[in-house]
């Protein structure tokens, strides 16, 4: 009986949303418009032709056959242009040139590069880039991939002998590359570990961030619906029909949660059509973060509704909470570009945690384990809000 009541409450929520056709625009049309327009404003590499690709200046201290092969194989890509410096220079010089803004990106090949490879030791490359230029971040990602691929292919060929290829060696080197590109972010941010450094397109931020924002906003706007239900007496009617106040609370929580997840699925699916959009390899992380964030938003809306007596209060509450969560939580602009204390503040909000997980997935390829602190924070927030919603709602409708 309880499950039937909860199913009915979910059905009721869906029917109410579908009854108002304009809801579909606010749920899907508006977020898609924002994602595309704001993504274009943040910048995208795919629209920039080869002539706009950033220049990567290579300083080859090795001057060996191996480094020559490396430089040759890095060419011919649209994400960057390789320019080999006439001077050998030094690592410090390469860094200084980027830091001063005289170069967008610099790759420094150490003198011991060839020796390291021959001896089977890790051969580090140093890459410096100006993170203020989103396109430079693209070149960093592409360069890292190219180096890794080159290393694995060469390793496979070398191990198998002329004309042959050793797949096992290739796989091993792909998993644990010998040549490591140690990237250093320079310029205004000086954030070596920034997830943003691994992101190559504005859509990679606006896609997930506007999905999160509109899912949360649509739910918080529904605070008004619950207030209207109280005032109209339909909440009392639901209370009379539902088996208990707990069942009623569960139904009022799950209805928006499922609609929110459907909204998120459509928006995240649309995002994959955008240039450079890739959520990483961990589908589980994607699902977990969306379920947790949507759950937190639904519980938050329920709690907020119990504090509002009028629709005016509900509108004010919904709008204020949405705007604060979106702006302070890094949904309008990446948290990687805000001062440290603002980042700390953002991590006290579910929106800040969720977008950080997305950036980690997209920019760093992180999965459940690496994102565990953020996901556990969201679990905690969800549990607290659900208990609060249950207590408040019970007091309201008992």
């Amino acid at each position: 009986m309880t499950s039937a009541v909860i199913r009915t409450l979910v059905l009721l929520h869906v029917r109410k949303i579908l009854a108002e056709k304009s809801n579909l625009f606010w749920m899907f049309g508006m977020p898609i418009m924002f994602t595309v327009l704001m993504g274009m404003m943040f910048g995208t590499t795919s629209s920039s032709g080869p002539s706009e690709a950033p220049e990567v200046t290579v300083y080859d201290a090795s001057r060996s056959a191996a480094s020559g092969d490396l430089i040759a194989s890095l060419g011919g890509r649209e994400q960057y242009r390789i320019v080999v410096a006439d001077t050998v220079g030094s690592e410090d010089l390469a860094r200084q040139l980027v830091d001063d803004g005289r170069r967008t990106a610099a790759l420094w090949i150490p003198a011991a590069f060839d020796d390291s490879l021959t001896a089977g030791r890790p051969a580090p490359l140093r890459f410096f880039f100006d993170s203020d230029r989103a396109s430079a971040q693209t070149s960093r990602t592409a360069l890292a991939e190219a180096v890794r691929r080159l290393d694995a292919i060469q390793g496979g060929r070398h191990a198998a002998g002329a004309g042959e290829f050793d797949q096992a060696v290739f796989d091993s080197l792909w998993a644990e590359p010998r040549v490591v590109l140690a990237a250093t972010t320079l310029g205004r941010q000086q954030q070596e570990e920034s997830a943003l450094a691994g992101m190559s397109s504005g859509f990679q931020h606006t896609g997930p961030s506007y999905t999160l924002m509109f899912v949360m906003m649509f739910m918080l706007m529904s605070v008004r619906d619950i207030v209207l239900e109280r005032r109209a007496g339909t909440l009392t009617r639901l209370r009379l029909g539902a088996a208990s106040s707990t069942t009623l609370a569960a139904g009022l929580f799950l209805g928006p949660l499922l609609v929110g997840l459907a909204q998120a699925a459509v928006l995240l699916g649309f995002n994959t059509l955008l240039p450079s959009m890739d959520y990483g390899d961990s589908v589980a992380t994607l699902i977990v973060v969306m379920v947790l964030f949507t759950g937190v938003s639904s519980a938050l809306a329920l709690v907020a509704a119990t504090f509002c007596r009028t629709t005016g209060q509900a509108d004010g509450m919904g709008m204020t909470v949405s705007m604060l969560m979106a702006s302070l939580g890094g949904l309008w602009w990446p948290l990687e570009i805000v001062p440290g204390f603002m980042k700390q503040l953002a991590l006290m909000l579910p929106s800040g945690r969720a977008i950080t997980v997305f950036h980690n997935m997209i920019g760093r390829g992180w999965g459940l384990t690496e994102n565990a602190p953020h996901l556990l924070w969201l679990v905690g927030a969800l549990l607290i809000l659900m208990v609060l919603a249950r207590v408040r709602l019970r007091r309201l409708i008992a």
């Binding site: 009986m1 039937a4 009915t8 109410k16 005032r231 109209a232 007496g233 009392t236 209370r239």
Partner: protein, 310 residues
């Protein structure tokens, strides 16, 4: 079917319900009469298990309101004062959702929804959003929502507020029809004429206390008010009529009161017959005639010292 004994409920310093006792038999329409804020809605809320009482006892269908809430809620229907409908949904969807909440499904649910739409004469509007309905249509649907699970007892809390006379008549007919099918009804209103037309027994509630209880005739008899025959003669022979009428059996007084000639009597019918004879004998004609019987208005006025709508 409903038993209420010394029921009490406070909100802060305000005694919303103060020692109210009454019973409602199965198949009866019981009217709880009183002005806004008298305690009617609070009483219904306690009986519907939406509010716990602070003192006293109450049972519905033999079940205690404080311990058997869930079982009671399955056997009662509540029609709140507010239009408790989802305006964006159709009439059919509203009934369907609440039918499902009470465990109806499949053909049983479809049949019940169709029955209620027919009963409320809303079948042809079944698939229209409720927001386009007139006040009367919404009120009828509001009542049907309380009946979707075929309850034994229906609590109606001022179900005719804000609608025109024609729509009100349809709703009263509807309630009467449902009662004839065996439904027990507890009906609160501050419209005296509704209580007079509809209710078998009446309780008058004021300031949380039950001021009077009984059937309508009994209550009126208890207040000791008499009939009054008001008239106006075409020719001014009122002084002669007053002198003669004062001697007629059952007449206690005759004369002008508040600008109208009035004969106060135990029963208006024989006095009107006698008046007819008196007019014929003297060849006189009447301009106006009305018989005023004591009603709930006079009862309420007598009990509370003020008119109900004050």
């Amino acid at each position: 079917m409903i038993q209420v004994h010394e029921l009490g409920k406070r909100f802060g310093d305000v005694k919303a319900v103060d020692g109210v006792s009454f019973t409602v038999a199965a198949g009866e329409i019981f009217g709880l009469l009183g002005p806004n804020g008298a305690g009617k809605t609070t009483t219904i809320s306690i009986l519907a298990t939406l509010l716990p009482p602070d003192s006293g006892r109450a049972s519905v269908c033999g079940l205690d309101v404080t311990t058997d809430g869930e079982a009671i809620r399955r056997r009662i229907g509540v029609v709140p004062q507010e239009m408790a409908l989802y305006e964006e949904l159709t009439a059919e969807q509203n009934l369907d959702v609440f039918g499902r909440l009470y465990g109806l499904k499949g053909d049983q649910l479809k049949r019940r929804v169709a029955e209620l739409l027919e009963l409320s004469e809303l079948t042809e509007h079944a698939r229209r959003p409720v927001k386009g309905f007139s006040g009367g249509m919404k009120r009828r649907l509001n009542i049907m929502m309380g009946l979707v699970h075929a309850p034994d007892v229906l609590f109606l809390d001022e179900p005719t507020v804000g609608i025109d006379a024609q729509a009100r008549t349809r709703i009263l007919d509807l309630i009467r029809g449902m009662n004839e099918q065996g439904l027990t009804v507890l009906y609160t209103t501050h419209y005296l004429e509704e209580a007079e037309q509809l209710c078998d027994r009446i309780g008058v509630i004021d300031h949380g206390r039950l001021a009077a209880l009984g059937d309508k005739e009994q209550l009126i008899h208890e207040i000791g008010e008499s009939d009054a025959v008001r008239l106006l003669l075409a020719t001014d022979r009122h002084a002669d009529l007053a002198a003669d009428a004062a001697r007629w059996p059952g007449v206690s007084w005759a004369g002008f009161r508040r600008g109208k000639f009035e004969i106060q009597c135990d029963d208006g019918a024989p006095v009107v017959a006698r008046l007819q004879t008196w007019l014929t004998e003297d060849g006189l004609e009447l301009d106006q005639l009305e018989v005023i019987r004591p009603n709930l208005e006079s009862l309420y006025l007598k009990i509370t010292g003020r008119a109900l709508r004050e």
